[in-house]
């Protein structure tokens, strides 16, 4: 079963614009991660934010986490055509052992 739900399901923007994707989840978590998946490829880890952190940056990526609302957002600034991919949030609930639970993903299209 999916723990996370991403919003929107699909997002289309122009190159240079910012893209924001949201993730909501149901149970208390140890950490939350974001992954990117290009068509026909495996997932690539982007960033991990722990439950005691509120914001984290990595290059053009900014992730926020609000544990009271059980939600996270991923912001990609100054988007490029190469950012076109599906983006998934993955949670590590405290009770799940070692597994990560993935959401359904947001399909991002960046038009040149």
């Amino acid at each position: 079963s999916q723990q996370g739900e991403e919003d929107p399901q699909a997002l289309s923007i122009q190159e240079g614009e910012n893209a924001t994707m949201n993730c909501s989840y149901k149970t208390s978590i140890n950490n939350l991660q974001w992954y990117r998946q290009n068509s026909g490829r495996g997932l690539v880890h982007l960033i991990l934010i722990r439950s005691n952190e509120r914001e984290k940056h990595s290059g053009r990526l900014r992730v926020t986490l609000d544990t009271s609302k059980k939600s996270s957002s991923l912001l990609i600034t100054a988007s490029r055509a190469a950012d076109t991919a599906s983006y998934f949030c993955a949670t590590h609930p405290w009770t799940s052992g070692s597994r990560l639970t993935f959401g359904e993903g947001t399909q991002l299209t960046v038009n040149p």
Binding site: Q2, G4, N30, N31, Q33, Y35, G40, R41, G42, L43, V44, H45, L48, F88, H92, S96, G97, S98, R99, L100, T101, F102, G103, E104, G105
Partner: protein, 115 residues
Amino acid sequence: GAGVSQSPRYKVAKRGQDVALRCDPISGHVSLFWYQQALGQGPEFLTYFQNEAQLDKSGLPSDRFFAERPEGSVSTLKIQRTQQEDSAVYLCASSSHRQGGSPLHFGNGTRLTVT
């Protein structure tokens, strides 16, 4: 190689056939996961190994699914008597960490089509 390698890349099986999917994790990675990804969906957990020990197989959908990692490196996911609903991409991922919730390194997956 530097990454997680999966083979075959594509597999077509007739309904009722057995299939075996192989995963070569990153050398030295102790944790290995199998996920199933249906078209347009996120990956769903199948099973987890720490070295050769299968510590969690709660995500395997039926007793037709079996996974092994006998020497703590290469892993094989076997599906017996394949059904059409088994059609999906099977992703393998590994991690150097023992503790749960660590970032995963994924292979490119095996796309299984059952006809």
